[in-house]
Amino acid sequence: MYPDYMAESLRKVAQTRPARLELARKPDPVYPPMSAEERRAVLEGFHPDFEASARRAVRIGPNRGESLTTEVADMLESHSWLRSEQVNLDKPDFETDLLIIGGGGAGCNAALVAMKEHGMRSIIATKLRMGDANTMMSQGGMQAAVSRTDSPTRHYLDAIGGGHFENKPELVRALTEDGPGVVKWLEDLGVVWDKEKDGSMKVMHGGGTSRKRMLSCRDYTGAMIMRTLMDEVRNHPDMIDVKEFMPAVELIMDDKGRCAGAVLYSLDSEEFFTVKAKSTIIATGGYGRLHIRGYDTTNHYGATGDGLVMAYRAGAKLMYMDSVQYHPTGVSFPEQIAGFLVTEAIRGAGGQPLNKDGELFVFPREPRDIEASAIIRECVQNGNGIPTPSGRVGVWLDSPLIDMLHGEGYTEKHFPAMYRQFIRYGIDITKLPMLIYPSLHYQNGGIEINERCETDLPGLYVAGEASGGLHGRNRLMGNSVLDYNVFGRRAGRYAGEYAKKVKLGKLSLAHLDAYEKELKDAGVKTDLVTPVLLPSYAPEDVKKRQLLRGDNTLPGSAVLQNRLHDERHCA
């Protein structure tokens, strides 16, 4: 239940609701959408990316001199877990056609397509369990231009406008043009899409869509897709070898500068294993668990940007790594679920963001960066947020409107996960609004790819959230679910094709020595060892006692602690 002091504000929300319901029933927007100038002003004034310390120049590597998100620059300027001379590459522990790093949606799609189209064998190496990925958590849906009023080129225009016209055109074309085919591919694998009575796809709006294009599986969209893909992967144990709790910690190259596999680390036995692969796909997802600017995150436990740093050390260029997506509607209260995602589909279905006086202050379906910035402005500048007992702040998201617009029972039927999430804390979202605030959600940029998922490095492919260029500096809702399907499939196709032809040379980790030298030459001093692998949520006093272990740069549980923000960080 909400604390008593919020009752007055809740009363105002209820008071303004009938008039707002009338607005929502009309075809016009319930609040005027922003012009290009208004968008720029709210972004520059209030988006966390624009705060003075949000970015800094990275001192080493392929993007040297470029301004990146500070936490990302910190992560890139770090030591490897490995020293090249300690790893014997003469006899790899495993050999395979494709090594796929990451067992989420992109990785599973890639393995299936490489097998089906090219007869290629894969190893999927994943940090936690297969399916422990942001894919599993996507609630609201997937964009794909399937309805008669829509078209792939209109989807293109929406996506590129949402990304402020900075997206790589060939990637947006691939995304939007492959979309309908992906719907069919998933349906034939057994994904149960929400449908209308006549069999046509149920479509909804999302932020920045000009046509209803959001396909869904209730609000378990990602879970449905992920479980279907995983089940199909597990139906081919002879072709796809899944190695769980085995994250990659460095890429292996050959003497011709081609990617040739990776070194894996077993979280169970703390051993390292070498994998020689004809082609390698990074599908490691994003970085929400780095808690950029101290924000809560919607991301899964393993989202620590591992692929970025591995690829960067090997020489792959990053793109748009100065841009972070904060989802407009993370939970602000109850404390126990702070930062959790409230699906954008709530606004797609008619939910309205409101200030403490129960007033609309933004069009509910602006692109995410705009909507998030407007919420921050309403709280920080206008002082119209609602403070929580633990010192957070939030605005209301008026969910009771949904049943009023679509009929009683609609919320429970279409948003069972959301309903469940809040009713555990005595908040019935069909009767009371949710208290929300932006939450760290998505890595807009990543390792630069082309429409074949190729990087600067031959033999290295990237798909999904780890890649950069597709979304420009702002992704629209539903385009990441489509992204990992479209580009996961493409990565499997083109990495499979490449694997058929390539003859690898002598394996090497020389790039790690070169990177270490670059760190030294640039005068970078840090005790950070990456990939980070897992965040630590131990209280500070526990961390202090854990650090008695000493200045340990070797693997072991001390390295599992996220040391990005501890006092030993001596950059």
Binding site: A36, M137, V146, T153, S200, P539, V542, S557
Partner: protein
């Protein structure tokens, strides 16, 4: 201290570290994590409490928001014989609770080719015959942290009603608690996944416009429009974008 949870190896005395921590504006309560006593915030989830105690979870945390089923947990409460189940990320601690996370539930997934199965009772018989061992005790339903009617979907599977299995198991997060508690040793969540796939593959109503759209893309129907849009600069695109109509 009120009650001592069964299985604790020392009494629940408060260490100086605990005292220091409790000075922050939070009330601490005693719980037992795998038989060891800890003082944790009264308002914490089980997952939050385990991390507050200083554990680095490796197996037992995934999405942390109730979708992935990685954090199945068993617990008992003081003076209560019952075994309770929950997801650690979603369940609040209670005073005197004694708990253990279940890192993995052994179960054999059937290997099948979806193209060779039929969406009826034959698939259940071939792939998950253990379903027919159900004794209708309802333990699965009582153990489901999602509040699903698990036994009802097992019964539906016995009747070959694939659509009902799909509907009733839709929100299953595959935490495995039902199959761990089942006296008939059925693997309910795995059967549920197969049933959902069978429904999606065979029993769905096809979307005519989807088939048309896929065909149109394959035939290059949008090539010309893409060729016009792709070379456009920011200004031209911006003009088009802000002038577009909305549904």
């Amino acid at each position: 201290m009120t009650s001592v949870a069964a299985g604790t190896t020392r009494n629940l005395s408060i260490s100086p570290a605990d005292e220091e921590r409790s000075t922050a504006a939070q009330r601490l309560i005693p719980i037992s994590i795998m038989g060891k006593a800890y003082q944790v915030p009264a308002e914490a989830t089980i997952m939050g409490a385990i991390e507050y105690a200083g554990h680095q979870i490796v197996r037992g945390a995934g999405c942390r928001e109730g979708y992935c089923g990685a954090c199945a947990t068993l617990y008992r409460l003081p003076g209560d014989y019952k075994i309770y189940t929950g997801l650690a990320c979603m369940t609040m601690v209670e005073e005197g609770m004694t708990l253990a996370q279940i890192p993995y539930v052994p179960a054999e997934k059937a290997i099948y080719d979806i193209e060779e199965l039929k969406p009826n009772i034959s698939a259940i018989q071939q792939m998950y015959p253990s379903v027919f061992r159900c004794v209708a005790c309802n333990t699965c339903t009582k153990s489901c942290p999602q509040g699903l009617q698990v036994m009802d979907y097992v019964q539906a599977a016995k009747r070959g009603d694939i659509a009902a299995v799909m509907d009733l198991s839709f929100d299953c997060v595959v935490c495995g608690l039902c199959m761990l508690r089942c006296p008939a040793e059925i693997t309910q969540p795995l059967m549920g996944i197969m049933a959902k796939r069978l429904y999606g593959r065979y029993l769905r109503k096809d979307s005519p416009e989807l088939a048309e759209r896929v065909k149109a893309v394959e035939s290059g129907a949008y090539d010309a429009e893409y060729a016009k849009l792709m070379p456009m600069g920011r200004e031209a695109l911006s003009e088009l974008y802000y002038a577009r109509d909305s549904e």
